[in-house]
Subunit: 399 residues, 2 copies
């Protein structure tokens, strides 16, 4: 096999059930990838992710790890797997999204982007080549091309210019990635490394995914798709959605773009989204997702359930001895009551954040598993209708 | 059996290895009881405490639970076990210590103590009778007499007056406890309950421990011991140590008081302490301990290890791929490196607090287990000498 192996096991309309095999794990899709920004999923120990939640792949953020602890440090441990002790698959993003959303941008030109670290103000530089070298050093199974992320409200011309830059950066990403995939290749161009950064896994190749941009402009999305496919990647991602645009815009882009993405490669919708979003996107043929909301919302006591969202801070739960979600089989729902979780949250106990985050991630994973089953059984449409209807049950009383 | 069963399995000098059996668990002593102030051990899910750390008894704080969520709420769930889902033994304190250390004291007289809640300033009242009723409602296996806790620097006369009040309160605690232990007894005097608070376990009796006070004055401690034993309790505790006095004072009190405590009852040293303190106190015949430091220190990255304390924030650990404690078999030490834990702490990830707290509690529990083995084998003194010597190894470079 190459860097990854991809098989579509079943389709139902545009929806697909697939199997993505990396050198470290077998991943059934559609799949939700929990986000481990700093090489750790916030509030959820790896033991839970492995033994109960059974996440086969998680995401880590190049930008954050690049700034702290730094790539040299992670290289000393032998890459991100060894550093973190996560032995299953990893996907790293390119750093682009965070540079454009978190950092103080200094200079953006053809070569790359100079920025000030949001941590200490230090001047840093990322380019397609450097991103590839960092990601080679981190050693994830799947790495992402370095793209420019235009603001969500970018106009047509600005978006067009941006996606052209992204296309040129995609080609450069691919070229450097291919060089680094050669046996014995060394990332000599990595400017912050005291020593050249050797690729973490030698000839044991990583997979590289290209990213389709184009904001809410469907024709630009199509152009971006064509140009990205022309370069040729191991998988394709849709970037720059769920960045503040109307939900109808996101769904329109998904409807027109996702089914057009190469069917023989995995399709990944970056940074999305709610359970509704996931199931909608699966209906358009998306296979992979990541999003911070299960853990971010979990930390504020906001739970995703099969009946919609609820917030455990709500006083009405004070005496409720039922679980967050009676239909959820996770270890939190099997054991802890709303009343107890609410008490922990009100008392400022971190166990509240820990347990609501746990449930949320488990619920997202479980949602993707039941979605897969529906696709395999050829009943995706009725499943989706019932799933979305049930989600609305709590809406009146929720959040 | 009565409320609890106590057997001394072996002695070595004054040190004892015992077995404390409650209606919910068999507890081998010496034992460290993790503190679950709010009905939850900070940062450590019950699953870990049960499956790996194997805590058979944890402590919960009456004062905190009384103020929030309130006893009525916990009664609605059927007591603290059902509310929290902790099915093993619980010990609740009387609320006295927190009233005197956290609350804004309003009025202290023979009857009890009026105070302002540290949460919302509301006026509250606790007395021996009310504390007994609250603790009956919470339903712990072991409950504590309501005592006055004089300041750590209290002079001789003030301490004497205080311990006399504590003795009268101990007698009242016992009287009310006995009434509440009758089948069908109802706590009618509980002033904040809309309805009388029924005892959570009917005739399934709780155990009541008396508390010896007397600050650093050994003769007053002896007097307090005598007066407490005269009343007669299921176990005896030493309170008011480790509250700011010199360590030599604590050790002097332990040396003179602990061996004089009734040998046919468990002996409990409240709120103490470091691993050194625990092993020293065991040497004087103490059986039970609780303390917040494993979790409190864990939250700031401070780890207790067999070689002494270390703080994972220390830059020297940045590239260290070894565990917190190479001699510890806990799930954190078996898997995660100092460098990774330091990274998580520096990045503000709660998993750092979670995992250092976990290790610390596991280390305290393990220390008590190895201490017990040494007592059973008749090698407590050499064990203690070696344990204390090893603890000093890190002192130069630690914290």
């Amino acid at each position: 096999m190459g860097s990854i192996d991809w098989k579509v096991n079943a389709t139902d309309g545009n929806a697909r059930a697939g199997t993505l095999t990396t050198r470290r794990s077998v991943i059934e899709t559609p799949v939700f990838m929990p986000v481990g920004t700093q090489g750790s999923v916030k509030g959820i120990r790896f033991e839970w992710l492995e033994d109960e939640i059974d996440a086969r792949i998680i995401l880590a953020n190049t930008y954050h790890l690049f700034l702290r602890p730094g790539i040299e440090a992670i290289c000393k441990f032998g890459g991100l797997h060894k550093f973190s002790s996560w032995d299953r698959s990893l996907l790293t993003d390119s750093g682009g999204f965070q540079v454009f959303s978190l950092a103080d941008l200094r200079k953006l030109n053809e070569d790359g982007v100079e920025f000030h670290s949001h941590l200490d103000g230090s001047t840093q530089f990322l380019s397609p080549e450097i991103s590839m070298e960092i990601q080679a050093a981190l050693g994830a199974e799947i790495v992402m091309a370095f793209d420019e992320c235009p603001p969500g409200d970018a106009g047509y011309e600005a978006t067009k210019e941006s996606l052209e830059l992204t296309a040129r950066w995609a080609a450069r990403s691919k070229a450097r990635f291919d060089e680094l995939s050669e046996p014995g290749a060394v990332a000599t161009g990595f400017p912050n490394a005291k020593n050249p950064v050797a690729t973490a896994h030698g000839s044991d190749k990583q997979a590289l995914f290209g990213i389709i941009q184009g904001a809410g402009h469907v024709d630009l999305r199509k152009e971006s798709l064509e140009r990205t496919v022309e370069i040729g990647f191991d998988g394709y991602a849709i970037g720059g959605l769920s960045v503040g645009e109307e939900k109808t815009v996101m769904y329109e882009v998904l409807e027109h773009i996702a089914p057009q993405m190469p069917s023989d490669k995995p399709r990944y919708l970056m940074g999305v989204g709610t359970p509704e979003d996931l199931v909608e996107a699966v209906g358009h043929g998306v296979d992979m997702f990541d999003c911070v909301i299960p853990t971010r919302n979990g930390r504020t006591g906001s739970a995703f359930t099969s009946r919609g969202k609820l917030n455990i801070r709500n006083a009405k739960f004070a005496l409720d001895d039922g679980p967050l979600d009676p239909d959820c089989g996770c270890s939190v729902c099997r054991r802890y009551s709303l009343g107890y979780l609410r008490h922990l949250y009100q008392a400022g106990e971190m166990n509240a954040a820990i347990m609501v985050s746990h449930h949320n991630v488990a619920f997202f994973m479980q949602t993707m598993r039941t979605t897969r089953e529906a696709i395999v059984d050829g009943r995706f449409q009725p499943f989706k209708a019932a799933f979305l209807a049930k989600l609305r049950e709590n809406e009146a009383g929720g959040v």
